[in-house]
C-alpha cells in the first residue's frame, strides 16, 4: 500500500517537473488523473450546474499557475481537493450574497421536511438535505462520509484538527437524521 502510494507520488512529481519545464501533455495527464475526484467534490458541494464546471476549471488553472511553488508537503490529490473545497465555499458565499438567504436550522428543517415528503427518490432527498447544511459541515460530510476520505485526510484538506472533523460530522448527522427520519423509517420497513 505504502509502496503504491510512493510510486504514485513519484509519478506525480515527475509529471509536475515536466509541466514546469513546459510540457503541457504532462499537465493534461495530471488533469485527467484527478478530474474525477475534483468533480465529485465540486459537484457534491454545488450541485450539477454550469458554475461547477467553472469552479473545476479554476481549480486546475490555480494549480497550473502555482505549480512551481508546489512543495510536496501533501499529495497532489489532497492539494487539489483543498483548492476545490475553498473555491466551492467561495462560490457558495457568492450565491448567498446574491440570494440574501441565511441558514436558519429551525426554518430549514421544516422547509426540508416538507420538501422531502414530496420527493420519492432517496438520492435526491439526501442531496437536498446535505445542501441545506451549513457549508463547513457540508464540506466534512462530503469528504468524510460520502467521498470516503479518512478523518486524517479530511482534516488535512480542510486544515482543521481531526477532533473538529468528528465533532462537525456528529452535529451534521444529527441534523441529517432530523431531515431524513421519515425516509429512513420507510427504508427500514422494506
Amino acid at each position: 500500500m505504502t509502496n503504491t502510494k510512493n510510486l504514485e507520488r513519484d509519478y506525480d512529481k515527475e509529471l509536475i517537473q515536466r509541466t514546469v519545464s513546459g510540457d503541457l501533455r504532462a499537465f493534461t495527464e495530471l488533469v485527467r488523473k484527478y478530474e474525477k475526484p475534483v468533480a465529485a467534490t465540486v459537484i457534491s458541494m454545488l450541485g450539477y450546474c454550469s458554475e461547477a464546471d467553472d469552479v473545476g476549471q479554476e481549480v486546475f488553472i490555480s494549480f497550473y499557475k502555482n505549480i512551481e511553488k508546489f512543495r510536496y508537503e501533501s499529495g497532489v490529490k489532497t492539494y487539489l481537493i483543498r483548492i476545490a473545497i475553498n473555491l466551492s465555499l467561495n462560490e457558495l458565499k457568492r450565491r448567498k450574497r446574491l440570494n440574501f438567504r441565511f441558514t436558519d436550522y429551525k426554518n430549514v428543517s421544516n422547509e426540508v421536511a416538507n420538501d422531502t415528503q414530496n420527493i420519492s427518490d432517496n438520492q435526491e432527498v439526501i442531496q437536498l438535505a446535505i445542501n441545506k447544511l451549513d457549508k463547513k459541515m457540508k464540506a466534512v460530510v462530503i469528504l468524510r462520509l460520502i467521498e470516503g476520505y479518512s478523518t486524517k485526510e479530511t482534516a488535512e484538506i480542510l486544515e482543521i484538527p481531526e477532533g473538529t472533523v468528528l465533532s462537525r460530522l456528529a452535529r451534521a448527522q444529527e441534523i441529517l437524521r432530523e431531515f431524513l427520519k421519515e425516509k429512513i423509517r420507510n427504508y427500514e420497513k422494506r
Binding site: 503541457l24 499537465f27 493534461t28 488533469v31 485527467r32 478530474e35 474525477k36 468533480a39 465529485a40 459537484i43 457534491s44 450539477y48 461547477a52 464546471d53 473545476g56 476549471q57 486546475f60 488553472i61 497550473y64 432517496n122 438520492q123 439526501i126 468524510r144 462520509l145 460520502i146 467521498e147 470516503g148 476520505y149 479518512s150 478523518t151 468528528l166 465533532s167 460530522l169 456528529a170 448527522q173 444529527e174 441529517l176 437524521r177 431524513l180 425516509k183 429512513i184 427504508y187 427500514e188
Partner: protein, 132 residues
C-alpha cells in the same frame, strides 16, 4: 474505480468505529449512536453508486484556456491590446484635428481654398526667391 470502492468500504467501517468512540466520549446513549449509524448507512446505501463528472470536453476547454494564458500568448495579447490603443488614439487625434480646423476655417471647402491660396503664395514666394 474498484480500488476507490474498496477504499470507501474500508473508510465506512473505520468511520463507524471512530464515531462510536467519539460519541461514547461525549456521553451519547447507545440508542442515539445506533440512530446515527442508521443515518450513515442510509446515506451510504443510496449514494454509493453515484458518480459525478464534469462536461465531456472539460479537459479540452481547460487546456485551451491554459494555452491561451501561456506567456507567449500574453505577449501577443499585449501587442494587440497596444495596437488597438494606438489606433483609438490616432482616430481621436484625427477627429480632434478635423474639428479644430473646421472651427478655425468655418468649413472644409473654405479650408481647401485657403490651402490652395497658401500653396499659390508659397509658389509665388519661391519664384521671387528664385529671381534673386
Amino acid at each position: 474505480m474498484k480500488k476507490d470502492k474498496t477504499k470507501k468500504i474500508n473508510q465506512t467501517e473505520e468511520l463507524n468505529q471512530e464515531m462510536w468512540t467519539y460519541s461514547l466520549s461525549k456521553n451519547k446513549s447507545i440508542e442515539e449512536i445506533k440512530e446515527m449509524e442508521k443515518t450513515r448507512h442510509f446515506i451510504w446505501e443510496n449514494l454509493k453508486d453515484l458518480e459525478y463528472s464534469f462536461n465531456p470536453f472539460f479537459v479540452e476547454i481547460l487546456m485551451n484556456k491554459i494555452t491561451k494564458s501561456s506567456p507567449l500568448h500574453d505577449i501577443s495579447f499585449d501587442l494587440s491590446f497596444l495596437l488597438r490603443r494606438v489606433m483609438i488614439f490616432a482616430l481621436f487625434t484625427l477627429v480632434f484635428l478635423l474639428s479644430y480646423l473646421y472651427t478655425t476655417y468655418g468649413s472644409l471647402s473654405e479650408l481647401l481654398v485657403i490651402n490652395t491660396e497658401l500653396l499659390n503664395d508659397t509658389k509665388l514666394i519661391s519664384s521671387i526667391l528664385n529671381e534673386f
